[in-house]
Amino acid sequence: MAFLARLGAPVRGFLAFLGDQAHLVLRTLRAGFALRLDQLAVVGGQTSLQTRFTGLDAWILVAGTALLLGAVTLIQAFSQLSGLGAENYIGTLMVLIILRELGPLLTAVLVIGRSSTAIAAELGAMQLNGEVDALAAHGVNPYQYLLLPRWLGVLVSVFALVVFFDAAALGGGFLVARLKYGITWGFFIASVRQALSNLDFAATLLKVFFFSGAITFHACHFGLRVQRSQTEIPQAVTKTVVSALVAVFALDGLIAALLYF
């Protein structure tokens, strides 16, 4: 019995967490549909701020990481597969490793590190300072003013950053392919195109949608649970990072299993 009780508590906690996430998503969606035209300017302003912070301010980090990753992927592939006609598999390697898997996944990891931490800390501080209560008390729906813009901003940013990541990684891969085998841009892109399928685009879009939701709502959940003390804020940030990483990896596995298994 004691073992079952020990097992039950975390299971119940996990189910409560899932329920809270679903509640946040549904309330935010409902708040989004209830937005009036005259409120769009305020919500749009907040969304553009979030997009600038999550997307625009992160492009150099994402581009640098992707460029190196694309180059390293092909360096390693060539070192292992030289003599086996590695140059013929460039497109397949780039699509399989970068575009299909690492592009969305690493972008999500970078956004978790930069933005979900910031969202959790900001909402935690707002909660402590009574700002969230003040919004609701003055007729400003916090789901419309705080959660919806963050979700939309992260969604737009993750989509843009994944496209950017993929493009930069292809650029890095092409540089290596060019220097090592003298491969032309036309051959490189044709090889990538040949390996790409519509399913890859669908998988990327699904990942962008679900990853951005997981990143935003995990941050909002832990940020808004801060109640009493400043010391809860770093705890909320840590929990956000761990929880969002687990969610993103689980979603990635689930989507891969559903679409490619």
Binding site: R36, D38, Q39, A41, V42, A125, M126, L128, N129, G130, E131, D133, A134, L135, A136, A137, H138, G139, V140, N141, Y145, Q227, R228
Partner: protein, 221 residues
């Protein structure tokens, strides 16, 4: 305007503050809640505003059930409420001006009307010169006044003021008091005011509710 039945509240550490409180404030009525520090005045105001869930009991604002219910969210778009917090409550990433203007923008008022009401409220509270600064860059008294300016600009049907005079010097206090007297005399708005400063507010023609000191929580040996 406000109907509360059987309200029970507790402090965060579980100390009972209110037990079985029944309260009715008619539309246009005014209520002054007094009591010693820690007696639950602020908590009562937050419960009435729908920002804090009571342990037990029901609260209805203008016939809309907020507890049990969704709290302040039930009132969004239905009742205009203004709440001047005892501390905090201003968005730290917005200037005082934007803090005052945000609820008006969300109401969907035209830009010119938002600008007029915001400037008017800030001017009335003597905040025009610091309107572009954020809350952390101004004095505690200015933050307190900015809370009042936000309420003033919103022209609410229900006003909740939590210790609006605390920590103000004579001049700032006179400005705030003049504003409160205006609200007390305005039959279009309902006012609930929590304060420890009974002497200063003794002239106000308001109903009074005295909260008993909360029992001390005894630690078990």
């Amino acid at each position: 305007m406000i109907q509360a039945r059987g309200l029970a509240c507790a402090s965060p550490e579980g100390r009972p503050l209110l037990e079985g409180l029944d309260l009715t404030v008619r539309p246009g009525g005014n209520l002054l809640v007094t009591g010693s520090s820690g007696s639950g005045k602020s908590r009562l105001l937050r419960v009435l505003a729908g920002t804090e869930r009571p342990r037990r009991g029901e609260v209805r604002i203008a016939g809309i059930g907020i507890w049990p219910g969704e709290g302040a969210l039930s009132l969004v778009g239905r009742i205009r409420m203004g709440f001047a917090f005892a501390s905090g409550g201003l968005l730290s990433n917005l200037s005082l001006e934007d803090n005052v203007a945000l609820p008006l923008r969300f109401l969907g008022l035209p830009k010119s009307e938002v600008a007029r009401r915001t400037a008017g409220a800030l001017d009335r509270l003597g905040l025009a010169s610091v309107a572009r600064l954020r809350p952390h860059a101004v004095s505690g008294a200015a933050r307190k006044h900015a809370n009042l300016a936000r309420v003033l600009a919103l022209e609410p049907e229900l006003i909740l003021l939590d210790d609006p005079l605390e920590g103000l010097d004579t001049v700032d206090r006179a400005v705030a008091l003049e504003l409160i007297e205006g609200w007390v005399g305005d039959s279009r708005c309902t006012l609930v005011l929590a304060s420890e400063e009974v002497q200063v507010l003794s002239e106000l023609e308001v109903d009074r509710l005295q909260l008993a000191p909360a029992p001390t929580l005894m630690e078990s040996p």
